[in-house]
């Protein structure tokens, strides 16, 4: 719930991958010009509004004190509308303040709006398709355990759980992004898709245990409440769920702390996804299954 509120309040901070636009990342070699000196010059270029963000390169710590900005940054990221080659060159000339400062350009992206639109369409389509395919797959593999709850309901519950697993980390991301200015980019889409995959596989493992216990009950002629079966299955797979997510989270945290800067927030989002994915298959998917079964009982 909080996540949805956050999404509505802060909104998505879409990056140029989706919107189209240009991003220029430069690092100065000697001293760094003040942002207040650059801003009016950039305005004179008439390239529309340009967002200037100070940034730090990996070796900024080793630089002499006077060669760093007030907070230790040694470079800038400039975000603007998409730029042509000549406009890009003009921008670079401006950043050197007429040759007074020297810098290297680490990164330059200019993405047309139509490419951005395509990415959005593809991302949405693949998320929908993946969800549909998972419902079908679960309905198929669990076809034998359609008593007392029909197998396609397992599929739908898996998707509900999955939505929950995706919405929470996305909400967390939105909050982080409103504070740090991190943007929704292609890696964000990859993160959502990965959480989809991990969440489903976790839910499937628990459903599989329920399926097995249901079968054993029939074979051994044990009479047991559906909710008791589910409870017992949960107990049995509880340790495994925790163990698995601990290992995955260990890997992800090492990505957060030691990994490349570009995948930092990606890994952070996955960590959240993994955490809530584990908790939701235990505390959300299984109770939902029992709830559906009980409603069926009432109807009879």
């Amino acid at each position: 719930m909080l996540s949805i509120v956050a999404m509505v309040v802060f909104g998505f901070n879409f990056g140029i991958d989706f919107k189209g636009g240009a991003l220029t990342e430069i690092y100065y070699e000697g001293s760094v010009p003040e942002k207040s000196d650059i801003a009016p010059l950039l305005e004179n270029l008439k390239f529309g509004s340009i967002l200037i963000q100070p940034t730090r390169s990996n070796n900024s710590q080793g630089r002499p004190e006077q060669d760093r900005g007030t907070t230790g940054e040694d470079g800038y990221i400039l975000k603007s509308r998409e730029l042509s080659d000549t406009e890009h060159q003009t921008l670079l000339d401006t950043m050197s303040l007429g040759g007074k400062y020297s810098f290297t350009e680490a990164n330059f992206n200019s993405i047309g709006p139509s490419v951005g639109r395509e990415l959005t369409r593809k991302a949405v389509t693949s998320i929908i398709l993946v969800s549909l395919a998972i419902i079908l797959f679960i309905a198929y593999t669990f076809r034998k355990s359609s008593v007392p709850v029909s197998s396609w309901k397992y599929g739908i519950i898996a998707i509900v759980t999955l939505l929950h697993d995706v919405i929470i980390p996305v909400g967390i991301f939105v909050i982080i992004s409103s504070v740090t200015g991190v943007e929704v980019d292609t890696l964000f889409v990859v993160a959502v898709l990965t959480i989809l995959g991990l969440s489903v596989s976790d839910t499937i493992v628990i459903f599989d245990r329920i399926r097995e216990n249901l079968r054993l009950n029939i074979e051994n002629r044990v009479k047991e409440n559906f909710s008791q079966t589910v409870g017992r299955s949960l107990e049995q797979s509880f340790v495994r769920s925790i163990a698995t997510s601990t290992t995955v989270i260990l890997v992800l945290l090492s990505l957060v702390f030691f990994g490349p800067v570009s995948t930092k927030y990606f890994a952070l989002m996955l960590t959240a996804g993994m955490f809530f994915g584990t908790y939701s298959s235990i505390f959300l998917a299984s109770p939902l299954l029992v709830w559906i079964e009980e409603r069926q009982q009432l109807k009879k």
């Binding site: 990996n58 890009h88 350009e105 200019s110 395509e118 991302a123 395919a133 097995e212």
Partner: protein, 438 residues
């Protein structure tokens, strides 16, 4: 053996890299643009002028031309691919050009976009008003360009261009050979213009204005003029690479500096190693002997996957490495499931041997099902994703398949070998796990 292959074929790990066999040299990791640095360009092809002609064929022709042009400039391993118009791209036909190592995007777009425009023009009929301009100093200039009119003959009908040298003056010349249509056009032009000038224009400038002596039916012409041999050679190369069949415009460009990519690779490797050690410690402490077996199986899993990445070869990007790490997580999951089940069966009072067999069989279904759902996800993403997502899906898919294999064969093999050990307190301790008492 696989380890040997993975390590030996990596440049940085072998000081004597130059001496190892070419097979190994050819199997370094392929790093994506985001890791190796380079330019990624997306062009839109304008097919509106083409009419009913088959767009697919034209796009292939366009790709060939651009590929030749890029190769001419000696970029290593460029990728030029056509992306057909679909619902996703709003029906636009696109051309994607990846240039590893080229970080000067201006240079890159120039060398791709530059089209040598070769035209043949004839003298304007007499009586055509000459456009003279008088500037402020009273000087009169007559623009020579206006005295020629364009013909249908252009570089489009060129079959082949070669560099030749004038036998008398040793001056470099470019010899042109036309195709059938070009031959006819050229014959017609020369026939109608005997004794007159036929000017040859390159990129809008006169480079040669020979006088026609007689009708030429052989379909061959020579461009001569003051050129250095190097200039003539470049011109030949550009003429042979052909003109673009359809106009293109740049939609987006991305450049990644090589240093940024290098840092990302270093950090990625570091994170992967630390993550792996943490997981290994956790598994061994928690599951003891089966844990150790899992770690061994995982090591082999990692090596096999990396070897496959090299052999296919898979282009590694940041997203691709993420996919690989996720698949590693799933491989761990498979091992955890097996170990957990074995522990459970032992608690139920089974012998080690039975527990291993039963535990493995029981865990297999959940491993199969959860991995199948990951494979489905990977396949869909690979079909519909953009290049970045495709990289992720590919490494994830390969990783999951190998993880299934390693769980079925490696872990099972090791465990069943170990399960034949004599049963006593020590072995029972080794096979159980965590804080539980036996």
């Amino acid at each position: 053996m696989a380890t040997f292959f993975v390590v030996k074929s990596e440049y940085k790990l072998n000081s004597n890299f130059g001496e190892v066999s070419p097979f190994l040299q050819n199997h370094q990791f392929h790093l994506g643009l985001d890791l190796s640095g380079g330019s990624h360009l997306v062009y839109k092809a304008d097919l509106s002028q083409v009419g009913d002609a088959d767009g697919g064929d034209l796009m292939d022709a366009l790709r060939d031309v651009i590929e030749r042009r890029v190769n001419l400039f000696g970029v290593s391993e460029p990728i030029v691919q056509v992306q057909s118009g679909s619902f996703f791209s709003g029906g636009e036909e696109r051309l994607i050009v990846d240039l590893p190592g080229v970080t000067d995007v201006e240079e890159a777009t120039r060398m791709i976009g530059e089209t040598p425009l070769l035209e043949f023009k004839t003298e304007a009929p007499e009586g055509t008003p000459q456009k003279a301009t008088v500037d402020e100093n009273g000087q009169v200039t007559i623009r020579i360009e206006d005295q020629f009119i364009a013909t249908e003959l252009t570089g489009r009908y060129l079959k082949h261009a070669t560099l030749v040298f004038d036998p008398n003056t040793r001056e470099p010349m470019v010899s042109l050979e036309f195709d059938d249509i070009g031959k006819e056009l050229f014959a017609q032009i020369t026939k109608e213009n005997v004794g007159k000038i036929v000017a040859i224009y390159l990129d809008g400038e006169i480079i040669s204005s020979p006088v026609v002596r007689e009708e030429i039916t052989a379909g061959e012409a020579v461009i001569s003029g003051s050129m250095t041999p190097a200039e003539a050679k470049t011109l030949v190369g550009r003429l042979n690479s052909g003109s673009l069949p359809v106009p293109i415009s740049l939609l987006s460009k991305q450049t990644i500096g090589a240093t940024l990519g290098d840092e990302a690779v270093q950090a990625g490797i570091k994170a992967a190693i630390i993550g792996f050690i943490l997981v290994a410690l956790f598994l061994i402490l928690w599951y003891r002997l089966p844990g150790l077996v899992s770690v061994l199986a995982l090591c082999m899993f990692v090596v096999i996957v990396l070897a496959i990445f090299k052999l296919i070869p898979v282009t590694l990007t940041a997203a691709g490495i993420a996919g690989f790490i996720i698949s590693m997580g799933l491989a761990v999951d498979a091992n955890v499931l097996i170990s957990e089940r074995i522990k459970e069966e032992m608690r139920a009072g089974k012998s080690i041997k039975d527990a291993v067999g039963l535990g493995f069989d029981r865990a297999w279904f959940s491993i199969r099902d959860s991995n199948t759902s990951s494979i489905i996800t990977a396949v869909i993403l690979f079909w519909f994703g953009t290049s970045l997502i495709k990289g992720f899906a590919l490494t994830l898919g390969i990783g999951v398949l190998i993880s299934l294999f390693s769980a079925v064969s490696l872990t099972k093999l090791f465990l069943s070998l170990l399960a034949n050990m004599k049963e006593n307190k020590v072995t029972r301790f080794l096979f159980s796990s965590g804080i539980t008492k036996i």
